[in-house]
Structure formats: structure tokens, C-alpha cells
Amino acid sequence: MHMDSKIQILEEQYWAGETSPEEEAILKRAASLDNPGMSDALKSLFETTNLMATNSLKSDFEDNFWKKVESETEYKGKVVSFNASSFLKYAAVGIVAVAFSFAIGNLIFKFNAQPESTTPAYATLADTYDSPEQAYLEMKRALMFASDKLNKGQGPVNELKKFDDGMNAIQTLN
């Protein structure tokens, strides 16, 4: 089979996505030789992709990269890195110390504190009688006593009043 025909067949296979890398290399070689069996479209495609494959980084890229690596390594060495396990260890010790101090302080405080009365204040105001009837009789007796004494006390109060009036009279005469 004529080479040009072979190239044409291979080209059709290429466009259909059926060529191997080796067959595509053959086509690229044919394109570079301006094979007449190949279409202009494929020739220009290979020409373009060959040119695109020559794009590269700037010449100082690699030097700059290693300089950056060195500066990052230096920086990380200077900065104290946060270590979670150490932090937790110290935090745990701190918590235990605080809790222990608190417990000791509490014990001391409780030892020195006055014993609290267990009787609530309101309990002094509680009823002294077991039944309402008894409480009523006692109240009645107390009121009668007070009433009796009120009347009896009136005499000495009148006497005191007379003494007071007399003293006032003497003072006005002086």
C-alpha cells in the first residue's frame, strides 16, 4: 500500500480516537515531512500542539522554589508549634491543682465556720399549742388578765398624774 494511503487510513483512525501513541507518533512524523496524504487540518493541529509542548517555566523558577522551601523551613523552626497533647497534659494538671485547692479551702472553711442552727427562723413563730381550742382558751385567759390589770392600773396612773400636776405647779410658782 502506498505510504500516502497508509497515512490517510491512519488519519481517519486518529480522528475516530482509535490510534495508539505509536501510531500518532507516525502521523506526527508524517506531518513534519509535509506528507501529501495528510489533510491540512491535521498538519496544522500537530504543528500547534508541538509548539504548545515547548512552553516552559522561567529559568529561575527552580532556584526560587528552593529558596522558598528553605525560608519556610526556617520559619517553622522558629515558631513554637502548637502541640495538642502537651497542651492537654498541662491543662489536666492545672484543673487537678485548682480542684484540689478548692477542696482544701472548702474543708478549712467548713472547719472554722460556726455550726449553723438547724432550726429555721420561722419555727420560733410556730404554734405552741397542739389544738386550736386550747389556743383559744389561753388567749381568752390572757386577754381577761390584761383587761383586769388595765382597770387596776388606772388608780396608780391617776396618782402619778396628780404628782406630775403638782410638780408643774411648783415650777410655775418659782
Binding site: D40, L45, T48, S56, F61, W66
Partner: protein, 171 residues
């Protein structure tokens, strides 16, 4: 992993990483930043690299993810403007191809490639520019083999139709 080994095993494909980042970022400085960030991450995790089946595929996958993250943060959509293509084909002015027609032809092809849908474009790029096998493309783009084949087929079909139309009608 020591520095010398890292240079031998990883830095050796820094340019591929850059070109792949460039296919996303459409800007050389941004692509360089992405490449540097990914290499830094690879350096920091170098001890874990020895267990990787393909360090190159892993690195390219990181480039893809980093580029997409950066594009998302910046809020830029996938650039397809023609005016960006001249940043990419820096070899165009200095290449032996000095015929105006060829330069225009190359720019035209670049435009067609740039306008491919995302997955098609990336699969096409990895195959045509970097010569990756379908297995490697599958690993980098994190898609299965049949998806790779379909994307390559569709991308080539689109490119062919566009280029034949341009060549036929001079558009």
C-alpha cells in the same frame, strides 16, 4: 525523601505541570503560582510519595485541583478569549515558522482547542500535548477509561470539523 531524590522524581516534570496549569489559568504568572504551590505541597508530603504508583499522575491531578480552586476563588470562568492565547504561545514569534499564514493558522488552531468543553479540552490536552496514555489521563482527570475515550473522540471530532470549515471557507 531527600532533595536530590525529589529533584529526580518530582521536579523533572515541573514543566508539564506548568503547561497543564496554563491550560486552566490562561495566564503564565498564575500558572507559575499554581505550579509552585503544588510542588511545595509535594515537598511537604514527600515521604508519602514513595508509595504512589505514579507520582507524575498524582502531581498533575493536584495541579488540576489547585487550578480549579484558584479559578473558583477568583471567580473567573474558563477563559476562552483569543487575546489570551498570545500569552501561551510564546514560542510563536521566535520559532522558525515565520510565515504569517502559519502563525495565523496556529493561532486559529489554538482558538479551536481553547473553546473545547472542559473535560474534552483537558483530555485532548493531555493526549495531544503531553502524550499521555488513556490510563494516565483517566488517573489525572479522575474519570473512567470509557469517559476518556469518549472525550478524546468528541474533542477530535470538534477540532476536525472546525479546522476543515476554517480551511474550506477561510474563517
Amino acid at each position: 525523601m531527600l532533595k536530590e531524590e525529589f529533584q529526580r522524581e518530582v521536579m523533572v516534570f515541573q514543566h508539564k505541570m506548568f503547561r497543564f496549569a496554563l491550560s486552566y489559568m490562561k495566564d503564565e504568572d498564575d500558572a507559575q503560582d499554581v505550579t509552585q504551590d503544588v510542588l511545595m505541597k509535594l515537598w511537604e508530603t514527600r515521604d508519602a510519595l514513595t508509595g504512589k504508583q505514579s507520582i507524575e499522575a498524582w502531581a498533575m491531578s493536584l495541579v488540576k485541583n489547585k487550578s480549579l480552586d484558584k479559578l473558583k476563588r477568583v471567580g473567573r470562568k474558563y477563559k476562552t478569549e483569543i487575546d489570551n492565547s498570545h500569552h501561551v504561545l510564546k514560542g510563536l514569534d521566535t520559532s522558525p515558522i515565520d510565515k504569517l499564514a502559519n502563525k495565523e493558522g496556529i493561532q486559529m488552531v489554538k482558538e479551536v482547542i481553547d473553546t473545547l468543553p472542559d473535560k474534552q479540552g483537558k483530555a485532548f490536552y493531555l493526549r495531544e500535548i503531553e502524550g499521555y496514555s488513556y490510563d494516565e489521563i483517566s488517573e489525572v482527570l479522575e474519570i473512567n477509561m470509557s469517559q476518556v475515550k469518549v472525550n478524546i473522540f468528541r474533542a477530535r471530532k470538534t477540532v476536525r470539523l472546525s479546522l476543515e470549515k476554517k480551511y474550506a471557507y477561510g474563517q
